[in-house]
């Protein structure tokens, strides 16, 4: 495991902020995935991200405080701290959700049903060797724009890749964990099974 001292943190307030927002949103998605799929490894990733977010928030506070030169600026800076804390609250809530998976036997079946029925749900999509996705990077296929599904994690063999980057290349038998509406997820499934051969031919 990495030491937190060695973890890179963006070096300005703006980038730290964006990183915090993205991390918190990813955590909520992953937390729901872990509950729905009963995957402890995803839940553990959420808990690690929670520590990372704490670190980001700490850096945000330090930099924000450092930058105040007078009362007026200090007052404005409270809005940054305020927002950092709110984002941190979201990440704490996501971590508690993930924690529910780790403390097994506690989940009522209503919970999975509710996640499946919500407007944006989570889907698990296996990539068949015949799919046009194989061999392409996420940047090339741009699934968010072309199918409405956000890929939040990929399982390759026994390994998990969380929040895959644009240069991630899809391989046969990869299992994509995505967030989207039922319709969007079904559409992506058709592509992943190789039944739909063109991506993004909307209209």
């Amino acid at each position: 495991m990495e030491e937190w001292d060695e973890v890179e943190v963006p070096d300005n307030v703006k980038d730290i902020f964006i990183e915090m927002k993205n991390t918190a949103e990813l955590m909520v998605d992953l937390a729901y995935s872990s509950v729905l799929l009963k995957e402890e490894e995803i839940a553990e990733e959420v808990l690690e991200l929670e520590e990372y977010l704490d670190l980001l928030n700490y850096h945000l506070m330090m930099r924000a405080v450092l930058s105040a030169r007078n009362i007026h600026e200090a007052e404005q800076i409270t809005s940054i701290l305020h927002m950092g804390r709110a984002i941190n609250d979201i990440s704490d809530a996501a971590a508690d959700l993930a924690q529910m998976v780790l403390e097994e036997d506690r989940l009522h079946p209503i919970i999975t049903e509710a996640i499946l029925e919500s407007e944006e749900t989570i889907g698990r999509i296996r990539v068949s060797p015949e799919s046009v996705l194989v061999g392409k990077t996420f940047e090339e296929v741009d699934l968010a724009a072309n199918t409405g599904v956000w890929i939040i994690a990929v399982r390759r063999g026994k390994r998990w890749i969380f929040d895959p980057e644009g240069d991630f290349k899809v391989m046969p038998e990869d299992v994509l964990i995505g967030r989207g509406t039922r319709t969007a997820l079904d559409y992506l499934k058709e592509i992943a099974m190789g039944r739909i051969k063109v991506i993004g031919s909307e209209v």
């Binding site: 703006k14 927002m83 809530a93 944006e120």
Partner: protein
């Protein structure tokens, strides 16, 4: 309807709403929109009511269950959604309070010509009865609809197959909000 069905429906709505609120909260800050921040405020009150209702229902349901402890997870999930909603409200509150936010908060959200707002669809509007696919709002008016508010319900991230009805309130980001208001039959000079 059984209590179990009730609970499930509430949980679905709470999950949808809390996600919508986070989206709207960040958007309200990004576009400095009081309107949308107020929308988040209203939703937050609704979330509070729903949380209490779910907790009561869960306790009632527990009497009938073989393993009543499992209902704890239902209460936990309601709580978690309420906390996310509270955080969203706290973000939107930056727009609503008097203290001017730090310039960096606006800078984060990048320079944009777009505007965020609520548009009510009036009787006779050309939008009524059309699906988003037919309307092609993104290409024709530079408009992205974040949500459609229909009565008390929200259609979050509406898709191509969703249609617009009279009385709907569109929560939208647009580079030409006036055009969207006109299409919706609103008097543009009204505000």
């Amino acid at each position: 309807m059984t209590e179990e069905e009730d609970i499930r429906e509430y949980l679905v709505e709470m999950k949808d709403l809390s996600a919508l609120m986070v989206d709207l909260a960040f958007s309200s800050v990004m576009y400095n929109s009081d309107e949308i921040a107020e929308e988040v405020y209203l939703l937050e009150e609704r979330m509070d009511d729903m949380t209490l209702t779910v907790k009561k229902l869960a306790l009632r349901e527990a009497k009938k269950e073989e393993e009543p402890e499992r209902l704890l997870s239902v209460i936990d999930l309601a709580d978690i959604n309420e906390r996310i909603a509270d955080a969203a409200y706290s973000i939107a509150d930056i727009v609503l309070r008097d203290i001017e936010p730090h310039p960096i908060i606006r800078a984060i959200m990048e320079e944009t010509e777009e505007e965020l707002g609520r548009v009510r669809v009036h009787p006779g509007s050309v939008l009524i009865g059309k699906t988003l696919q037919q309307l092609k709002l993104p290409s024709k008016t530079g408009t992205r609809i974040l949500a459609i508010k229909r009565g008390n319900r929200y259609i979050y991230n509406p898709g191509k197959g969703d249609w617009i009805e009279e009385g709907d309130v569109l929560i939208a980001v647009s580079s030409d909000m006036d055009k969207l208001r006109k299409l919706a039959g609103e008097d543009v000079d009204e505000e």
